[in-house]
């Protein structure tokens, strides 16, 4: 009956309650949507990083990642790669020769990372082949084809079929160069990546560097689901001896932290919204108990305990907060759900975002755990907001309250 009384009390002053409810609804809706938006952005960044740049697991000679020197290759890597390809949950394995080198066009040059890949294997691991904006992925050029990023192409002022020269040090530290022709130009959502990563065929780069047959610097592995990354990593580790087997989280820890950190930021953001709402709710409830001074006095007089009156105010405030909160959560979730399937186009900020590695087309991503957390936070806000007005209400003197005309 106390809940019934509290609920009906909310609607006594319909306009005032609706104003507070609207404020809570809008605040929570904005909080839920912003969180889903940021999470969608982060998820996309991580997904892009895994599917375009990192893959789930990488294997290197333990010194290669530190020095990036050509001589720290993995001999017989092709045998290992074939073996890994048979493991459960593995969707693709690719071998890469990696050399830091110089690429030059007729006009200018740039320092880049050259990756010698087997295109068919690479397609199973990364999605560069699907991000071609000009030309084709290692097609159309028979001899020494090269695939470069759009940003680099602009920098070098080259187009498809343009000639570029790659200069590098071979295994004997001799400076060597090879002429390549642009077969395709790709564009990812990360312009920094596009500017510094160049793909050539494995055989062409092996020939240029004199690397032994079957050797490479990096084996990149894609698994069917990120949840299986660790188990596959553990299985690979058992067979690779001294080689370094790392998951994407270990290779790029900042990327795995970004989601966690962003989650924390979003909770702080929602807390700030709730804090602002808290004072609005306190103000409303103070007005409520002031208006009902006489009524509270009557309740005390007829024998309603102060604990029950305290509880009644708490329930009323929590119901008020929860009604606005739940409406806000539902609206925020519905809007976020819509944008899960429809892009939010941020192309007006595209340049800046892409320099940071973020796509300018964002889909939201709702985290059910966050929805539950926000609901709990709203309930707590209601309780905290109610405490001061409720304490004030139970201090009323019934005899004095009943004298009010």
């Amino acid at each position: 009956m106390l809940i019934q009384v509290s609920w009906r009390n909310i609607w006594r002053s319909r306009t005032r309650s609706l104003v507070v409810l609207t404020a809570i609804t809008l605040g929570i809706m904005a909080g839920v949507f912003s969180t889903a938006f940021m999470k969608g952005m982060m998820d996309k960044r991580v997904e892009t990083a895994i599917h375009t740049e990192l893959s789930h697991i990488q294997i290197h000679d333990s010194l290669f990642r530190k020095t990036a020197e050509l001589r720290y290759y993995m001999p017989g890597a092709d045998v290992l790669a074939r073996k890994i390809d048979t493991l459960p949950h593995v969707e693709g394995v690719t071998q890469r020769i990696i050399v830091q080198s110089m690429i030059s066009s007729a006009e200018t040059g740039a320092g880049v990372k050259i990756m010698g890949i087997r295109p068919d294997d690479e397609k199973k691991v990364t999605d560069i082949a699907q991000q071609m904006v000009e030309g084709k992925y290692f097609e159309g050029i028979k001899r020494n084809p090269v695939v470069i990023g759009q940003k680099l192409a602009h920098k070098l002022n080259v187009r498809v079929r343009s000639k570029v020269v790659i200069t590098l040090q071979d295994m004997d530290n001799n400076l060597t160069a090879g002429a390549f022709r642009v077969a395709g130009i790709y564009k990812t959502s990360n312009t920094a990546y596009d500017e510094s990563n160049v793909f050539v065929r494995y055989e062409d780069l092996a020939r240029l560097t004199d690397l032994p047959a079957g050797a490479c610097h990096e084996i990149a592995i894609r698994v069917d689901n990120d949840l299986n990354t660790v188990s596959v990593q553990q299985r690979i580790k058992k067979t690779t001896g001294s080689l370094e087997v790392m998951s994407w989280k270990e290779i790029s820890p900042e990327l795995s932290y970004i989601t966690v950190v962003m989650d924390q930021y979003m909770y702080i953001f929602i807390l700030i919204i709730l804090l602002a709402l808290l004072f609005g709710i306190i103000n409303t409830m103070l007005m409520v108990i002031l208006e009902r001074h006489k009524e509270i006095g009557m309740l005390l007089a007829i024998g309603m305990s102060r604990t029950r009156i305290f509880l009644m105010i708490i329930i009323e405030t929590v119901l008020l907060s929860l009604t606005g909160g739940i409406t806000g959560i539902i609206l925020g979730t519905l809007i976020s759900k819509y944008f899960e399937y429809h892009y939010i186009n941020l192309s007006m900020f595209g340049k800046g975002l892409e320099q940071l590695g973020f796509s300018s087309l964002v889909n939201t991503s709702i985290d059910p755990e966050m929805v539950v957390s926000v609901t709990i936070m709203v309930i707590f806000t209601g309780i905290i907001a109610a405490i001061y007005p409720a304490l004030k209400a139970i201090k009323y003197d019934p005899a004095e309250a009943l004298r009010i005309e």
């Binding site: 106390l2 019934q4 009384v5 009524e295 009557m298 007089a301 019934p398 009943l402």
Partner: protein, 227 residues
Amino acid sequence: MNIIEIKDLVKIYDSTEIEVTAVNHINLNFEKGEFSAVVGPSGSGKTTFLNLLGGLDRPTAGHIMIDGIDLWSLKSRQITDFRLHNIGFVFQSYNLLPVLTAKENVEFIMHLQGWPKAEREKRARELLKAVGLGDRINSRPNKLSGGQQQRVAVARALASKPKFILADEPTANLDSHSTENLLDIMEKLNREEGITFIFSTHDARVVKKAHRVITLEDGKVLSDEKK
């Protein structure tokens, strides 16, 4: 048999500038089944006297014994609980909960006492029927006249099965017809069910119906007449 014994009751309002003695050494007893009116001009101490008797205001000195229990020796929480189970209140301005219907208003006090839902619903219906509002049980106070609201308040006061009912100027806001109607109902409840009523009033119609009239002046008992 006395259900209320008042011994040397004093209430002094002590503001910083003026000290007002609202109740001045009152000694009175009330028996079960009395239909008494406390009368006197404004400021004579009627409301203060009733507030002390109802455990709403703490006396400066003296004792109020209700069924042998010294009311003001109880702790604050116990007094609230004592009021809930032993004293019924009818206020001048009805003081019903506007968000509840007539039946729910009557039920509310039984809910506080912990009655099961079915029983309190049954009793609420019976009581509202007894005060002539059997057909208005689902009306909210704003849909009832002043007289009807006060009858709901009487039903509410009776609902908790109190030892006595304190009514502070219950007819002050009512027209003559409603006053007559309310008094008839209260008199009938007193006569047939032995409910003890103590009113404060300066309404001649109430005084006329009362079986005992206690007149206060300046906080003192001026006269105590039984009819």
